[in-house]
Symmetry: C2
Amino acid sequence: MKDLTKIFYPETIAVIGSSENAMKWGSFISSNILSHDFKGRFYPVSKSYDTIYGRKAYRSLKDIEDEIDLLIITTPAATVMEILNDCVLIGIKNIVLISSGFSETGIEGKDLELKLTDFAKSNGLNIVGPNTMGITNTKVPLHATGSHVNVKSGDISIIAQSGNIGTQIMIWAEQQDIGIGKFVGSGNEAVIVCEDYLEYFFHDKDTSVILMYIEGVDKGRKFFEIAKEATLRKPVIALKGGRTGSGSRAAESHTGAMAGSYSVFNGAMSQCGIICADSPSELLLLSAVFSCMPLPKGNNIGILTLGGGWGVITADECEERGLAIPQLPDDVFNLLDKSLPPFWSRGNPVDLVGQPDTDLFMKAIEAMVASNAFDAVIFLGVIGAYKMGVRFKDAEYKLGMINNQELKGFNDFANLIQLSFLDMVLNLMERYDKPIHAVSLVSFPEDQAVYSKEGCKYKVIIHRTPEEAVLCLEKQYKYSKYLKGQEGLK
Amino acid sequence: MKDLTKIFYPETIAVIGSSENAMKWGSFISSNILSHDFKGRFYPVSKSYDTIYGRKAYRSLKDIEDEIDLLIITTPAATVMEILNDCVLIGIKNIVLISSGFSETGIEGKDLELKLTDFAKSNGLNIVGPNTMGITNTKVPLHATGSHVNVKSGDISIIAQSGNIGTQIMIWAEQQDIGIGKFVGSGNEAVIVCEDYLEYFFHDKDTSVILMYIEGVDKGRKFFEIAKEATLRKPVIALKGGRTGSGSRAAESHTGAMAGSYSVFNGAMSQCGIICADSPSELLLLSAVFSCMPLPKGNNIGILTLGGGWGVITADECEERGLAIPQLPDDVFNLLDKSLPPFWSRGNPVDLVGQPDTDLFMKAIEAMVASNAFDAVIFLGVIGAYKMGVRFKDAEYKLGMINNQELKGFNDFANLIQLSFLDMVLNLMERYDKPIHAVSLVSFPEDQAVYSKEGCKYKVIIHRTPEEAVLCLEKQYKYSKYLKGQEGLK
């Protein structure tokens, strides 16, 4: 196993090609590291600048009188071999090679990359890239990518064979308040390959969910062996690019990956317990769910809704995705029948027909979560409903019925009710160890997508649509079933 | 055909059960109408209030000395028949019956509803509902629904057999700046049924796209006859609830709709040119696209990307959805080869490998749109890219390299460039009459989803993900093919 610890947890970093020129990678990377408060020692190396962002710049690597844990190279491909020579002389082992101009550009680049691979292997160099977007470890914090992302720290780690897909995922995570641990754009994988990162993240105690965007894997056998072991301990969620002829041709011109047969690859992924996503946004969503929630033990889903049509759509989605909507067992039926208005749906989905009573809703959720008849619960509404109430108050304000103070008071009060409701949902999830998926009635851009509380093992994910919640439950159920099957094989 | 003009364009409205009590529908509806500046005459009718939101309240309908174009009833089911009797005496023809407690609640309610249907038919009353969320016509403006939505005016009209799905769609439209014309929650459809609204919207000159959420249709034959005629002139986009056993059972308890066989219904929808959506959010997205863009004449798609992985994903999605990614014809190839850096992808997807040069990107888009080899273009990036640039500037600001003024200046400048780019895209779409789908590199919650310009026939939709753009193109292509087939039958 390759030891990538100093790459992700460096105490000293040098950047060759560091710059203040806003058109250069040496500037993107340096400003990213510094503005995100890297706590270690930082050494810019530049032929043109005496200082970089207020730090003393060095003319050459050799001028730095410190041990360099991680070297980042942003200068042109032609300069790289000489720098690597220096690395060997100085004793630098770990390198992030941002520079492009290697195998992705044609025959000459391919030759250069072969040379680089040989050199690295014979001299024991760990190289990320070349042609990589860079790396991140929010725990250090180390933000050494070309794109500036302000994502919060978490336990999801990302391996991306495409830099901008990786960046998009991190920006979405930032917007949705989903924590990310490490990120690596694996670039051309001349030295450290996809399966090395997978193996490292598998053993990394700061990572609990692994997210991958893959176009191709050179050593499929090794990749799947590692994956099979990893998925027994950590969910591995992957999106395969190049599933079709058009996609494979594009992948070939992108990373040079020979995509191979998707059906074979896909079958292998499922067989080793990898959770397959269909798009980058799904990758992130699933990672968040697997990082925040217990797995369901079976596929029996209880649905609660504030509106009939919504329950219909959710039930359709469940059945289409292989989840069951069992009838209500007698005890749950009787409990609900006692508390609910006479015209309740008397079935699963339980339709509370617009009743805005959150206590009632909470009672119904608990009755279903507590019952052995259900392995998971999806509830639709309550969350987000208060925002519609605020709009009504807003109209009263416009019509001169209440003042600004009262409007604000209502908003704060309604928000508090929602938070205490989320708190109860989280407590139920902790107590019964079953996933509860929340779907917001109407979600506004500024709304939180994750509710967490100090000291709790789980978090509540607030979905924007029921189809999103059902998709997640399907994947959770499949993974849970896979793990059970593996258990049986022992 | 039922004439629903006075329902959607009333000059006088009375609300029975009007109230200032924040727990009552009479208050939701009245405050909604008034706070959204209804320009006609408004008459609240109430047993308890002398004024409602500052308007004089009437004890009874009979006290109002004006012709009532539209009556909205919010009082309990038991009061309704007497009110309808009054309507006949006074000469009120058009009613929105919010009240619940009819067929959705059991046998007694069913009987009452049958009575109501008979009475309405023999006395020529037009009744929306009962058990409806209400209606909207943003053009009047008339906002007579229980939920307060501030959506902007447009040409998409909505028929929903579920009030809260309708509300969600309108809130999403509001957030995404998509214009809505009319909305009706059809409720129990005791008098005016789904196909009546469809027929009315088909002939309505203010409607150019029709969006439907359907659980069941009583007179399938009539519905499909009208739909077949309507789709020749206006796109009709529908989501069917109750596609599965679980969904149908839920639908039965919701609207009492006998969902019937989905495969039969689905087949019939396709045969009469209805565009089928798979979820409420898809319904809205497709409606926006069909309202803003020309149709592609074939399925040959050109893809332009700022990043390789992204092109791979888009090509996969296209092929999986029956769209073709043809090779670049020689003239386009040569044109691009002259302008692009030597390491460009030399194929479709055209990968500009992170080149931030918008002029180059625009040239490439035009080369593809202008070519006969392509019926539509998807471009990934440029839009949203400047926000990443702003983050870099933000880091420079944090590191003391630029001041606040310079940061703001850059932001404004980059925003202007993006707007001028969108403007050029819009011009290309107008000039070549081909759809161009934009996908944002990273979209932020506050970002606009639609770019429009006075005097232009089309608008640019800015998608959040490539899969969204591809889905839309697939549906556009299928509809275009359907229309061509119908043309051939003439």
